[in-house]
Structure formats: C-alpha cells, structure tokens
C-alpha cells in the first residue's frame, strides 16, 4: 500500500518521494518522481515514455520528458531543481507500468535535488483534484 502521507505532489499531477541525505552512505538528498494515478487515468493507456538520462540537470517547472498514451502526449515537468540520478529503464520497456502501478514500479526518474520548491501534501492535492472534478462538471 502506498503511504500517501510520505509523498509530496504538484499541481501538474506528479508525485515526489523524498529521501534525506545519508551521511554514512555519503548520498545527497534525492527525490523519486512519478505521475499520480489521476494523471495516469486521464492519459489512458501509456505507450511510451521519454525520460532524461542520468547526469542531466533539471530546473523546476521545465519540461524534461514526455509520457505518451494512445490519446495524447503529456509532458513531464521537473518538480525540483537538481540532477538526474537515474531513470526507470523498466518503464521505458513496459510503459504500461505507469498505469498499473503509478506510485510504485511506474516511477519515472530519481533526482539529486539542490532546491526544493513548495510542494503540496496529500490533503492539498486531494483538494485540488476535488476542484478539478468540479470544474469538469
């Protein structure tokens, strides 16, 4: 089960899982990024993902990748400033993971971040979805 309280969210329907720096292991703080179940559902069957390679620097708000479904092409926005540590090769081979397990195996990139903008918590994000659902009506 996904513990949503461990996740942060963006208005672009992405989730961010933060891992603090580990002094012992000598790792910097990192963020794992994916799209929310709501976004995956809206996109429909995901057929292709185009993700940035490790080492690419990303800036908050910039388009860094694409998520293509049979209906449309969604953009992956960088939710933080930082450098890509790795991309999820499994999702490149099996894009349907974004639909089947958006918060788990369907993660997209892991980033070493230098700056963390203000992100939404789960309750805020749920409220945002509520507004969107209303505006759709």
């Amino acid at each position: 089960m996904t513990d949503f309280d461990q996740l942060r969210f963006t208005a672009e329907h992405e989730w961010v899982r933060l891992a603090p720096a580990d002094a012992e292991a000598g790792t910097a703080p990192s963020a794992t990024i994916g799209i929310t179940a709501y976004a995956a559902d809206k996109l429909g069957d995901v057929v292709f993902v185009d993700l940035p390679d490790a080492g690419v620097e990303i800036a908050d708000g910039a388009v860094v990748g694409e998520i293509e479904s049979t209906k449309s092409v969604g953009e992956l926005f960088a939710p933080v400033n930082g450098t890509v540590l790795e991309k999820n090769a499994a999702v490149e081979d099996a894009p349907e993971l974004v639909n089947s397990d958006p918060y788990g195996e369907g993660w997209l990139i892991r980033v070493e971040y230098t700056e963390l903008p203000e992100l939404l918590n789960y309750a805020d994000y749920q409220a945002l979805l509520g507004d969107e659902a209303e505006s759709v009506q």
Binding site: F48, E68, S69, T70, K71, S72, V73, P95
Partner: protein
C-alpha cells in the same frame, strides 16, 4: 434529353426535402438556411456580373474538358528534376486509380473497416524503408520538396547541435532549394549552400543537419559517406533525398549512415500530372520514429488476437499536439502511395532492378553517343541524368530538341541536362541525338562503353524479399489481390460516410474522367507555356470561380493540402506585415475550439500562438478576444477563425470579431474547412476575412483517396494577393483578379503576380486533379452550388432533429439550428450505461456504416455530416441505426446484457466470430451481425474485430509483417 447534373449530385429530391422540412418546421430550404445563417453575413447578389457560367450538362462538360485537353501538347519529357515519365501498369490504373473503392475511401481512422488500404500502405512503407535502408517509413508525404523541408525541421528537433545552420547541397533540385529558403527563413533557420560533391569534410560548418541530394539534380552520383560521418561528429543529422529507382542499384542512404531519407515515389507508376499529386516519402533510422511527421501505419492485433493494421502514434499528430506538434502535415497521399506500392508489388525486386538497369543502360548509351559526337559531359558517374556542357548553345539546342518533340532542361545558357526514364526508347535516343546534332562524323570514334555507377556505391543489400513482392506477377493474380484488399474496406461506393468536418460528398464519374487523360496526366510541371495552354485556361477559370464564391480577389491553387494552404495564407499575412515594416506583428490568436492544425501552421509561419477562450457553446468569447487583442495590440498579426465553427455552428458575432481584429491592425484568417455550410449564402471575404484556404477535397468534390490527395487553395483579398505563393518555374506569373469584396464577384480583368515563397514543388501543386473541381462548378453553376449547400444544411438539421431525443445535440446557433454538421453528445450515455463513443462507432460497422467523426472537436462525441449527396433513404437508414444502437445501450443499462459482454462492447463482429467455435454471449448471433433485417441481403463484413490501439503503439512495427504472422 439531359437531366441537370445538380439532381444527380444532390441526393434529396423535392419530395424528400419536403419531408425533411416538415420535420423541422420550415417552408423551404432557403428559409431554413437564412434562419440558420446570421443576417449580418448574408451574401450580396452577384447577378449579371458573375464569372461562373450557366451550368452545363455532363456531356457538354466532357466535351469542354476534351477541348481544354486538346490545347495541351504532350511532348516527350527528358526534363527530369524529380519528375519522370513512367508506365502505370494498366491493371493498377483500372483497379486502383480509376476505382471508386480506392479513391472514395476516407483516411483510415476506423482501422477495422480500412484493412485493405492499410495493408497497401504497409506495402508502400516497406518499399520505402527497404530501398532507403532505414527502419521506419511513414505513409507518404505531400511531395519531395515539402518532404525535404520536413526533413530539415525533423533534424532541428532531433539534433543535439544548438547551431541554427542547415547545410544544403548545391546539387539539390532547384524547386527544393527555393522551398527550403522560404520555409527556413520563417522559422529562423540559416541555410548554407555548398557544392557537397566536392566539399571536404573539414569544410563542413557546424550545423544541426546537412541535406544531400543523391543522385544530384545534375545527375551526378557522389559518395556522401565522409560528409555524413562529419555531420554526425558535430551532433548534426544527415538528410538524404534519394531516387527510389536508382536505389535498386545504388547503396542505400541508411547503409551509408543517413538519419533521414526523403524523396518521391512518382516514377513508380504515378503519372507526372503537370506536377501532382504524387506520394513523397520520408523514412528514418531507429530512434527517430516518434519524430516522423504525417501518418504512420503500424501492425497491431484485434480482439481475437489476429494481426491487424492501424494508424500508429496518432497522439503525436497536430490535431492533438497543436502548437507542440512535430509538423502541420495532417494528411498523406494515400491513393498515390498505394499505386507506387502496387507498382513494386507487381514488378517485384527483379522487375524493379531490370527497369532501373535498362534506364541506366539507355543513359549510358546516350552518354556514349553524345561523347562521340563531341559533347562534353559534366560528370562521370550518373544513373539516368546527363549534364551537358554546351557553352552558349543551351537554348538553341533545347529549341532543336523541342522541334522534334523533346523537352530537355536548360540549366543556364551554357548547360543542359537530359533525363532518361522507363518510357525512353531507342527511337527517342536517336531523335535526340539528331536534334542535338551529335551524330559522330569524320574522325569521331565511340569510346568504350563505361559503367556509370561508382563501383564503391553498387548496392549490396537485398530488398523486397517479402512474399507480397514476389507473388503477384500475373495480371490475374494482381487483379485479385487488389480486389481482395478493396473488399476489406468501406468506401463511398458501399454507403454513407457521415464524417463531420470532412464533407464526404459525391465524386462524380464525369468529374473524374479527365484526370487520367494523357493531355492532363502526361505533362511535366516545368513544360513550356505553349504546351500547357489548356491547363492554364482551366486554372485561371477555376481561380476566378473560387474567388467569386468566397468573396476574395485572387486565388493560388498551389498548396497540396489544407495544411499547406493554411501555411501559405499565414505566410502571406507575415509577408504583408513585414512589407509595411511591421516586423513585430507575430502573434496569432487562435480560439480554443480551433482545429489543432491551425496552431501547428502558425508556428511554422514563425508566429506565436495565443489561445482565445470559447464560451460553453464553442463560440469565440468576445470579451476574452478584446482582452487578448489589448494585451498584444502592436504585436497582433492575425486571428484564425473557422466558419462555421469547428462545432458546426454559424457564429453570430463573426462580423464584430473580424472588425475588432482589423481595428487593432491584425488580419483575419478564415479557415475554409467548413465552406460547404455557407457556399452561395455567405462569402468569407465579404464578412471580414482577409485570407482563407479551401479544401477542394471537401467542398469541391476531389475524392479523399483514402487519405490524400487533397488540394488546399489559398484565397486572399487584394492587399495580400502579392504575398501568395509564387514559383520560379511557373509558366505564367500573373494570376487573374476578381473584384471580390466590392460587388461580390465580377471579374475586373486585371492580374496580380503572386510573389510569396513557394509551398509546393510544382507551380500549380496537384494540377491533374483540378479538372475535378472545375467540372463540378461548371456543371452546378452558381445556383446549383447554392442548392447543394441548402441540401447539406437541411440534411444535418434533419439528422439533429430526428436524433435529438436519443442523443443530445451539443451545439446550435440562431433559431436552434446547426450548420452542415451536428455533434451528438455520447457522454451522458457513457455515464448512464458505460457504453463509450468507441462502442457506438464500432457497432455502426455491424449496421453497415462508417462511423461519424469520433471525439472531435469534443471528446466523447460523434460529429455527423451527411452532406448533400446522400438521399433520404440512406439518411433514414443511419438515423434508424443510431436509434437501434441507443436501444441496445438502454438494454445494457437495464441489465439485460452485462456491461462487459454485449453487442456494443464486442463490436464489430466478423464472420469468423459468429461461425467459429461455440457461441457464449448473452445475445444471439443474428443480433450480432443482422441487427436489422435489411442487412441479410446487403451486408458489409468487417475483416477484423476491434483493434488494440495500445498494443500497436507499444510494439511499433511499420512494415510488412513476416509471413509466419499470417499463420
């Protein structure tokens, strides 16, 4: 006795129209249309001054076309430059080119009922991919020159090199260079032209791409490998334009490292047609598939697990991605691509190689003779084209050839080029030798016959080994293969195709006849003016007729598709602003309801797209328009608006909208995709448009060809006319002017030169299909065109009123009326029953229909456009099918059938699905395939079940599947 053509073209007669009008509560068609079209835009009366003659009968029009044909003179063309005479196998001419089962089909958006042409396109893609040595070919491009432009744009997208420079081969086709120049300028690309055959790799500048013509326009063959390597080393891409016939003997671009190959398939059996239509092509290496513009056919599976074809990667197309699209190209040249693919199927790899070998042998024979006769040839290595160095004598020699009936290419005063093709005979070579006075005399001796292909570039790889290219050698086999494929498909020869915004009206046989006459089909686009006077008369007349009906002053027929017309119109606006020093006017306002192509075209015209909101009815939000105009006042270039709107509604405020834009110094682009709703009742140029494109393949009867060809003329008011697309090789630079806006269409007798950059390779675009639209207007006359509009609007409103109680009609304008199409909202049905728009569309197949437009312009809806050509019986059959399907959905809702197993979710039903194995559904087999009794005697059987869209996009495969896939 002759029956007026309009009664053949319009499907509903007076009695039928009476029934329909009664359902709507109107006295007459005119009263209905005048109630629907806002008073403020009603067309002025042209009266006596009309340039459109009184209608003629079918027989008379055939005779007039014959007279025009007789004014053309077909010489033996040896001009080359990307257009070669070719032999269209008669079995392909009769069974494809002249067969309504192929030419009246629509773009294969409903793949289950389009398997025949999808397989034919897969054949084409396989031919292109294998000959070019690349992984993936698309389903064709508009022509070679626009394909090169798209190659340049693709290179810029895909390259990691930040430079804005694109290197162009000096030996590229001249018309291609001219297109590259105007298109590059608009999007900020800098071109550097180099003689690549003699350029050292180190002299190649830093560039995002390099374009190589292979063989060159001069005929020269040079090895491009070192340049391709160098381009790659700098992070750039290599785009190679290659001749498909030459590639049967020459090393492929892919094997030499090219990233992109482009060109034309014209010489694979498609007549020159004075410039088109032909299928251009584009193929890319692995990794660039998702950058391909246009359409791409791929392999997937259906619900029964059988192999099935479909359009792939549609989510990347411009109608969805809008200004982020990779290109504004929506369409392909399907009919022509199918012909070229079938030429390869019929000849096979050995046949193609034999044709190429013979062409090359003739070229060598000619070279040997000319050398012996004292001529100096520019190049040692060539395939089919010789460049002769004839200081000061080029024109005189060309004249001498002309006198014997041969056309050669005058490069300049000192240089001639001569191209040999599949049709060139020994007799032709002898005549040309005599004309050039190259008969060796005195001490002249024949040199040894030398091979003309460079040794290191001889092709070593196989091609077209798939069984489909090695089976149909006999005409019987070929005829049956073509019949089998066309039987898979649903075209207008089976029934109504009520596709909204596509105007699938009649393509009358009389209109079609002249297209394949040699006097229209056999001309090279750069033939001398004296040889094409019939064509030029027809073109002049059609230009003035189209100007009059749209209220504009001048028309260019050059654009090969609606998208290219849009681009040409926007480039005209850009040229106009810049001519006045208004270089900063670059903002293009586009309503959110617009077709995505509008935005994609604006980007390619160097404009910035700003979206204007629409209200809940889909009309432009005038307050938001005012705000956006205010925000961008001095930067405002244009507003693009579709009329009637993409929602099929006559927008009430259009006059005010145009005025607001003009007051701010902007120009108004009216997208003419929906012209069939106003023709004869309102004129774009009169109510505020400055420029429009039309779709001759919608409103003016050119068939859709299964997804191309199209013609997208651009019509403009006088101030924009000088900026319409010109062409350096046009036989005539001046175009007639019709005084469109002052008195509604009287010929002023003046002329204007279109001096904008070219948008097509040929001066008059797809010339050979213009007789279709010419014949349509000639047979209908002004009054007939108006009646057609009335009948189309009546049919759409009749469908709306009959179906309103079963499906909500989403939008309506004045007096609750729609225009020529109506949108049925299926979202409430989905909410109530779980039945989707897809289910309804596929179930319509079981009822014997092609589905209406799905989920455009609003997701979850069907847009229905019956057109004027359907009769009441067919319209009623459609309405009854829709009502029956609604009842089936209600049964699902009532729990009679489970949501996961009912006739809708399982549609379409194939013969196999009801005959093979046990039947375990909660409805019977009769319900599955004969839901109404009339189908028992007249049934269209879909060849596959519902196709898995996601599977095809996840497992992209775009060539003939290996034979084991058939087992």
């Amino acid at each position: 006795m002759s029956i007026p053509f309009e009664s053949r073209h319009i499907g509903t007669d007076a009695a039928a129209q009476r029934v329909m009008l009664d359902a709507l509560g109107y006295d007459s068609v005119t009263a209905l249309v005048e109630a629907a079209v806002p008073q403020s835009i009603h067309a002025s009366d042209v009266g006596e001054g009309s340039v459109i003659p009184e209608p003629a009968t079918e027989r008379e029009v055939s005779a007039e076309l014959r007279e025009l044909a007789n004014q053309n003179s077909v010489k033996r063309s040896m001009i080359g430059l990307g257009y070669y005479d070719t032999i269209t196998p008669a079995v392909i001419k009769r069974n494809v080119f002249e067969n309504p089962s192929w030419y009246t089909a629509y773009t294969p958006y409903q793949p289950e009922i389009s398997q025949g042409r999808l397989e034919a396109l897969i054949n084409f893609q396989t031919v292109v991919a294998e000959l070019t040595g690349l992984t993936t070919s698309n389903a064709s491009m508009l022509d070679e020159s626009t394909a090169v432009v798209e190659g340049m744009l693709l290179a810029r997208r895909a390259s990691k090199q930040k430079s804005a420079t694109f290197v162009v081969d000096a030996d590229a086709l001249p018309q291609t260079k001219s297109l590259l120049a105007s298109r590059a300028e608009a999007v900020g690309i800098e071109l550097v032209e180099l003689e690549l055959a003699t350029t050292a790799p180190d002299d190649l500048p830093e560039a995002f791409g390099v374009f190589i013509q292979y063989p060159g326009a001069s005929g020269r063959i040079a090895d491009p490998r070192h340049l391709i390597e160098k381009a790659h080393a700098g992070g750039g891409l290599a785009v190679v334009a290659a001749d498909l016939l030459a590639l049967t003997l020459l090393e492929s671009p892919g094997s030499m490292g090219a990233d992109v190959a482009v060109g034309t398939s014209q010489r694979f059996g498609v007549p020159m047609g004075f410039g088109g239509p032909h299928a251009g092509y584009m193929a890319v290496r692995k990794g660039l598939e998702r950058q391909l513009p246009g359409r791409l056919v791929g392999v997937s599976v259906d619900a029964a697990g059988n192999r099935a074809y479909r359009l792939s990667l549609q989510a990347r197309e411009q109608h969805i991605r809008r200004e982020k699209a990779t290109s504004n190209i929506c369409t392909a040249q399907v009919l022509l691509a199918i012909m070229a693919g079938m030429y390869a199927v019929y000849h096979g790899p050995d046949g193609l190689r034999a044709i190429a070998t013979e062409v090359n042998a003739r070229a060598i024979a000619l070279a040997t003779t000319l050398r012996a006769g004292g001529f100096e040839l520019a190049h040692e290595h060539f395939f089919d084209t010789l460049t002769l160095l004839v200081p000061g004598r080029a024109r005189a020699l060309s004249d001498a050839a002309y006198d014997r009936g041969y056309l050669v290419n005058v490069v300049d005063d000192d240089t001639l080029s001569v191209s040999v093709d599949e049709t060139t005979t020994q007799h032709d070579l002898m005549q040309l030798t005599l004309a050039l006075d190259a008969v060796p005399r005195g001490t002249a001796t024949y040199s040894r016959v030398l091979p003309s292909l460079p040794e290191g570039l001889a092709r070593t790889t196989d091609y077209l080994t798939h069984p489909v290219f090695n089976t149909h050698r006999s005409e019987t086999s070929m005829m049956r293969y073509l019949k089998r494929l066309s039987d898979y498909d649903y075209a207008l020869d089976r029934g109504m195709i009520p596709l909204g915004s596509c105007t699938m009206k009649l393509n009358a046989a009389t209109e079609m006849e002249a297209v394949s006459w040699p006097e229209f089909a056999g001309l090279h686009p750069f033939a001398p003016r004296d040889d094409v006077t019939g064509y030029l008369s027809l073109i002049d007349q059609l230009e003035t007729w189209l100007a009059e009906v749209t209220g504009y002053d001048s028309v260019s027929l050059q654009p090969n598709a609606g998208s290219q017309g849009e681009l040409a119109g926007l480039l005209a606006i850009r040229g106009y602003h810049r001519s006045r020093g208004d270089d900063s006017r670059t903002v293009c306002l586009i309503p959110s309801s617009a077709h995505g192509t509008n935005a994609a075209s604006a980007v390619l015209a160097g404009m910035k797209v700003v979206v204007v909101a629409c209200d809940e009815l889909g009309n432009v939000d005038v307050d938001d328009l005012r705000t956006k105009i205010g925000e961008h006042a001095s930067a405002l270039a244009a507003l693009m608006i579709t009329y009637p709107s993409t929602h099929g509604v006559y927008e009430h405020d259009v006059v005010d909208i145009c005025r607001l834009v003009h007051e701010a110094g902007g120009q108004v682009y009216v997208d003419g995709a929906n012209l069939n709703a106003v023709l004869g009742f309102a004129r774009f140029g009169e109510f505020g448009g400055d420029v429009s494109h039309l779709n001759l393949h919608k409103t003016f009867c050119i068939p859709h060809g299964g997804g191309g060809p199209g013609v997208g003329p651009v019509a403009a008011r006088a101030h924009l006319a000088p900026f319409l697309p010109g062409h350096a090789f046009a036989q005539k630079q001046e175009h007639p002017v019709v005084d469109g806006t002052s008195s509604g269409g009287t010929s002023s007798g003046g002329t204007v030169v279109h001096a904008g950059g070219a948008v097509s390779g040929a001066p008059y675009g797809s010339s050979s299909i213009l007789p279709i639209s010419w014949a349509y207007v000639r047979m209908m006359g002004s009054e007939g065109l108006k009646q057609a509009t009335g009948a189309a609007v009546l049919a759409a409103n009749y469908v709306a009123v009959r179906l309103r109680d079963h499906f909500p009609v989403l939008y309506a304008g004045d007096n609750g009326l729609v225009a020529h199409e109506c949108i049925l909202d299926l979202r409430p049905l989905k909410d109530a029953t779980g039945v989707t728009v897809d289910d309804v569309a596929k179930r319509l197949v079981d009822y014997g229909f092609h589905a209406p437009t799905m989920s455009f312009p609003v997701a979850g809806t069907l847009m229905v456009e019956p057109t004027e050509s359907e009769d009441l019986a067919e319209i009623d059959r459609f309405i009854e099918a829709m009502i029956a399907i609604r009842a089936e959905a209600d049964a699902v809702q009532a729990g009679e059938w489970p949501a996961g197993d009912n006739p809708l979710v399982n549609a379409p039903h194939t013969a196999q699905s009801i005959a093979v194995g046990s039947w375990e559904h909660p409805y019977d087999r009769e319900r599955a395939v004969f839901p109404v009794p009339s189908l028992i005697s007249h049934k269209y059987w879909p060849p596959v079940r519902r196709i898995d869209q996601a599977y095809g996009d996840r497992n992209l495969f775009c060539a003939c599947p290996p034979p084991e896939a058939f087992e």
